[in-house]
Amino acid sequence: MEKKYAVYVCKGCGIAESVDADKVIAAASSHTKVPKDKFKSHDILCGPEGVAMIKADMAGEGVNAITIAACSWRTKSDEFNFPGCVVSRANIRELVAWSQPPQTEETQALAADYLIMGIVRTQKAELPEPGILPDLNDTIMVIGGGVTGLTAALEAAKAGYDVALVEKEAELGGWAAKLYKEAPGQYPYEKLNEPTVFAKIKEAEANPKIKIFKSTSVEKTDGQPGLYDVTLASNGNTEQIKAGSIVLAAGWKPYDATKLSHLGYGLANVVTNVEFEEIAKKGKITRADGKPARKVAFIQCAGSRDAEHLPYCSHFCCSTSLKQARYVREANGDAMAMIFYKDIRTPGQTELFYKNMQNDPGVMLTKAEVKGVAEEGGKLFVHATDTLLGSAIKVEADMVVLATGIVPATAPFQTWWDGMTEAGKKGDAERNKFTEENPRPDGILNLGYKQGPEVPSLEGGFGFVDSNFLCFQYETRRTGIYAAGCVRQPMTINEAAEDATGAAMKAIQVLDHIAKGQAVHPRAWDLTYPDPMMTRCTSCKRCTEECPFGAIDEDAKGTPFYKINRCRRCGTCMGACPERIVSFKDYNVDMIGSMIKSMEVPEEGLRVICLACENDAYPALDTVGVRKKLKLNPAVRFIPVRCLGSTNLVWVADAFSRGVDGLLLLGCKFGEDYQCHFIKGSELASYRFSKVQETLDRLQLEAERCQMMQVGIDDYSKLPDIIEAFVKKIEDDLGPNPFKGF
């Protein structure tokens, strides 16, 4: 499009009291060569008259490239929404009028720089043109035919989508189909329920929108959202299907009870909670010798909450044992159930079921550290300490039920993969040794992704493929693939069904978005996409390695190519590329570089540039302004970046060659509990900066001139001091950039 520029400067909210708007305009005009008659100021730009003025210019003069110097881009977005126009905002309210002393030369220069950078941003941005790939498929593949997978399939089908439901066992239903009864899931949490899964199986089998593949596993998943090519394997035969998105509901396995011999597993009449369901299903609670079990002991956390076994809580075992205690009591009025627990965990209203069971005189509950289960003279005894009944007790039982926990289906492969990766850090020989000694477990998705065949689990997440984001539960690092049920977290049947519905929602949403050429969370509105100039690609592979979402594969020659429907628009590839060939229509290396190069660098006095994460650090800076009582150092120019991962090292050269004295990066916390919503942005920026410091050393520029700091959105009260300290360090210890003026 041919751009018709206009620049608007607001004088409201204390801006006119803080700076001389005419002088700001004069400075910006002379610096950017945008003629002065393209600039207008207004007392209240966001008010009806101000907005009408802009709209009149759009209608009358065809203005379509607008720079607005006013409040932060985070505010008044409805008022300054001009469809069909490129709009940039220069923040001269929060970061100037509200956080600087009024009417000083420095404040004036700051406002002028923000306006100049805003104009450059408008010059370098284009309207988005969505990239929509052809031949999109909108079948949802659900892996796992247990209660989670069945629910996801049914919910997606109800919403009108075709589903391919893949179950590796011969029958649908998973563990839920092996239960005698279900624990109460509804108020008043009194009665046990008949298993609900069979109705779902029937419904799924009768639904023409759901194609069911039993005894089938996924041999290969190639492609990207909307264009998955899946190879299914069943009894030695393979079949190709197409899918648009995937729900990963592969479920769980009981923890291997043979590792629990200290709790008596292996002895007659010591069974797991899963085995006990089978016993109960037969109608009578009997021992191996056929005699009725009158005293049944339940040992909670058998393997769970145990550093030697599963360090997590398996969540549903408490209500499962309470339920099984009811089996014991219902089978035989004289029978007694004894539950030995660390803590009874019946969160929420499941507490009501616990209370019901406590009221049953045939159910004995005690907190205990179970030391062991042993057979003495043909009888079973539970040994425990620290109980409510005494410090050391020994209780006889006809039968012992171990409340074994769960292992997510994703754990075996993930554990192996992590082990191999770890060994690989020590060299190829170590890696080969590892793979020889440890056979590769079966994968579930077997993705044809350069970055590995499964959805990466969380660091320290015990193989669960959970979201790292508490407030965004369906975020995985593989776009279009949504985990649900016990592969994410231990959960009950009801919870798994709810979770499955959520995952189905996300699987539907991604199909809708890619059909419109739109990104998905956390930039769901974004119609742009990375568009690399491949003729200049050197196949260095940094983008393929660094992309947090595995969106970039390599062709046979090793040249990277984008699977754009996997992309989340974080710009990490743009930051990684040494050739600077990756660009978005509205965000690119040249844009930020030009903004950096556009600002006035004084010969006297310091100039510092701060690149700030637009979701966390920048809003925190805005809050500094909103508080009004805090001041930001006037030598610093803040530039919002989409994610620190998009920080390209050329910007460092752009800044220092211009004589800038310091460069500060403000990004999110990284490490195990990382807060970056693009997974690794700040961590990658930090890594890249560690490399740039070597370069700076060679240029005899001190490495301390560049610094990356981890801050949160709630660090507003600390930020002014953090920034002040950085500037002061340059001022006191390093002095001006020696390249200044060159």
């Binding site: 409201g12 204390g14 008010g47 409040c71 985070r74 505010t75 977005s77 409805d78 919910e155 919403a159 009108g160 509804q186 108020y187 909450r305 360090p311 997590y312 809580c313 803590d343 009874i344 965990r345 969160p347 929420g348 209203q349 009501l352 209370k355 907190k367 620290d386 409510l388 320290g460 508490l470 407030c471 965004f472 539960q473 977290q489 231990p490 959960m491 709810e498 979770d499 499955a500 519905t501 959520g502 189905a504 929602m505 949403q509 809708d512 969370h521 956390p522 769901a524 979701n615 966390d616 809003p619 909103v626 508080r627 509990d673 807060q675 919503h677 949160g712 959105i713 709630d714 009260s717």
Partner: protein, 419 residues
């Protein structure tokens, strides 16, 4: 408003999630929120467990989703006044209470500076004051001031109106009723902290320096009444020896019979606030059972193993004033069988969650438990309930339920309305 829209009652983390997931799938949504801002209860929290990340971070993303998407409309300071089933959908009357500040507001603070009247700050549970013209909190969305009609005496000659250069103050605003048609309704009304003053023995409201867990969040929050310094209310002394009393009202037939789900993790999280601020501080958690389900166990172990942290199993019998505004807690340690009596700088009651609908239930043919929780089986087609309106849950479960409810609401639309 289009006929094919979804009405979400409540703009907290559950309601926002329902609305945004549906909006991002291309559907029109209307949020009705009683507060002057979106974000609900989580906006008041300092950190989320177990990551200890600021809730504002996720809210910032959600606020941006609202702005960028455009399909999720919202009414703040509003409540659903009446609902009737009509033509396979619902006619909904929304009462919009006067904010006395219109959308010309730029959040410049001039009205607050001019305002002579003060009010107790409900966002900080009364631990601070604001002017009658105020911004609920610095990051509030929408970023627009409010005038508290009850606190404004109207005897200052309309100082706020005179101070506002933007024509944003409108003291003549009246409550309005807006009628919308909805094909589906999602109830996401959330929770209030249980009124723990009803438990006489726990001293809340009578014994100085006994606070509840949501107050502790505000005290620890950098935008709270003490700007994040953990100071006890009576004299501003640093609270270095703190007791956390679990199940304050929860798991108690006289109060809330259920477990409030979040309090164990919340107290453990609050122990980390204390330990981070005062490394030599001591924290004692009095509990019945420590409930840290699933992978939360890891967080429990981390806090349990911190120096200066003690966990004692037992139900607190009494909380009393001691000398110098300190607080004495009495209970029986059930494992040792011994009576424990110990004095603290401050006591935090892990008061439970009570359905926000308990006081004023929505009709809609919904059945409730004795504590005002929605019984999901009683919901008629086209109406869904999520989050703590139906059972106490944490943020993760709220988000899971909300995402699923968005889908259910959407296929109510696909069928042309209520099925």
């Amino acid at each position: 408003m289009a006929e094919e829209s979804i009405l979400v009652i409540g703009g907290g983390i559950s309601g926002l999630t329902v609305a945004l997931e549906a909006a991002e799938a291309g559907h029109d949504v209307t949020i009705v929120e009683r507060n002057p801002y979106l974000g609900g209860r989580v906006a008041q929290l300092n950190k989320y467990f177990p990551k200890l990340c600021p809730p504002l971070c996720g809210l910032e993303i959600n606020y941006r989703r609202v702005k960028e998407n455009g399909r999720a409309k919202f009414y703040t300071m509003s409540e659903v006044e009446k609902v009737s089933a009509k033509d396979g959908g619902f006619d909904v009357g929304i009462k919009v209470n006067p904010r006395y500040i219109n959308d010309k507001c730029v959040a410049c603070d001039a009205c607050a500076q001019a305002c002579p009247a003060e009010r107790s700050d409900d966002f900080n549970f009364g631990m601070s004051k604001t002017k009658a013209a105020y911004l609920p909190f610095e990051q509030a969305f929408p970023q627009r001031y409010v005038i508290d009609g009850k606190a404004c005496k109207g005897d200052c000659g309309k100082a706020c109106e005179a101070a506002c250069k933007y024509g944003a103050v409108d003291l003549a605003m009246k409550p309005e009723t807006v009628n919308v048609k909805a094909a589906a309704i999602v109830v996401a009304t959330g929770w209030n902290p249980y009124e723990i003053a009803k438990a006489d023995n726990l001293g809340f409201g009578k014994v100085k320096n006994v606070i509840n867990n949501v107050m502790m969040e505000r005290i620890a929050a950098p935008n709270g009444p003490t700007e994040g310094r953990i100071l006890r209310p009576s004299d501003g002394k640093e609270a270095r020896k703190v007791a956390f009393v679990q199940c304050a009202g929860s798991r108690d037939e006289n109060h809330l019979p259920y477990c409030s789900y979040i309090c164990c993790m919340a107290s453990l999280k609050q122990v980390t606030y204390l330990k981070e601020q005062y490394p030599d501080s001591t924290a004692t958690v009095f509990y019945i059972d420590i409930r840290t389900p699933g992978r939360y166990e890891k967080f429990y172990w981390k806090v349990r193993d911190m120096e200066g942290v003690t966990l004692t199993k037992g139900k607190v019998a009494k909380v009393e004033q001691a000398a110098g505004d300190d607080v004495t807690v009495t209970l029986e340690d059930v494992l040792s069988g011994k009576k424990v009596q110990e004095t603290f700088d401050m006591v935090v009651l892990a008061s439970g969650m009570e359905s926000a609908l308990r006081e004023k239930p929505l009709q809609l043919g919904i059945k409730y438990t004795g504590e005002g929780l929605i019984i999901p089986g009683s919901l008629v087609p086209g109406i869904y309930a999520v989050g703590s309106a139906k059972s106490p849950v944490d943020v993760t479960k709220s988000v899971q339920e909300a995402t699923g409810a968005a889908l259910k609401a959407i296929y109510s639309l696909a069928a042309g309305g209520r099925r």
